[in-house]
Symmetry: C2
Subunit: 103 residues, 2 copies
DNA sequence: GCGACATACATCGTAACACGAGGTAATAAC
DNA sequence: GTTATTACCTCGTGTTACGATGTATGTCGC
């Protein structure tokens, strides 16, 4: 899919991936893969950004000798998803503008 | 609307705005305004980009003492719109991923 | 005639961003 | 002991949207 098209979806997608259950980087990529592929470097950038924006919180857990950083969504993160749903109506309107057949 | 979300829509939107009838910068902005607002600097950047990508062609016309650069869509531009329609199915799938309610 | 506004184009600098390439380190399988 | 998998991170680069700014003409009110 077109990179530019992905941009607006990525942040919200990551938030959606942890909304129902706390998750960590490696697993988020796997969960999202059927819908939207993203590289590790991209994901970790996004996670850092969302953390700075306080849309998620981190707690590190040791799991079989390796570190895992679990991410938990905050109310601000949930609100971000809600805002996306509002934007969606606008996107659908734009879609109709693009696909309309006049001539 | 979220800037990132606009990004993937902008190019295709501009192509759609000239698809049925050749148009020029100033008018494109006005036509698109109800759907998607964009500044002049953004539009002219987009037009230049689409021209370089040979998705549209320019012909300059003098109109009441002022220059007007009319843009005409090429087959590659039409194809770009068709590709967007394909991408749309993916976007809808992502939307469902984001808005699903599991818990 | 002159100021304000609309029409119509263009450029520059900046900040945000996705991603490839590369790095570290532990466990598991063979 | 080498390869694969899990799990994290950073740096550099190219693309991009947009505000600020500039140029120039036409129109309308006063």
């Amino acid at each position: 899919m077109d990179i530019q098209l992905k941009r607006g979806l990525l942040d919200v997608c990551v938030l959606a991936a942890i909304k129902n259950e706390d998750s960590y980087g490696y697993r988020i990529i796997k969960d999202m893969k059927p819908y939207l592929e993203l590289s590790e470097s991209t994901l970790y950038t996004i996670l850092k950004r969302l953390e700075t924006a306080r849309m998620l919180e981190v707690h590190t857990v040791e799991h079989e000798g390796r570190l895992r950083k679990y991410y938990h969504i905050t109310p601000a993160g949930v609100q971000r998803i809600e805002e996306f749903k509002t934007d969606w109506e606008e996107i659908r309107s734009i879609y109709r503008f693009i696909t309309r057949e006049e001539a």
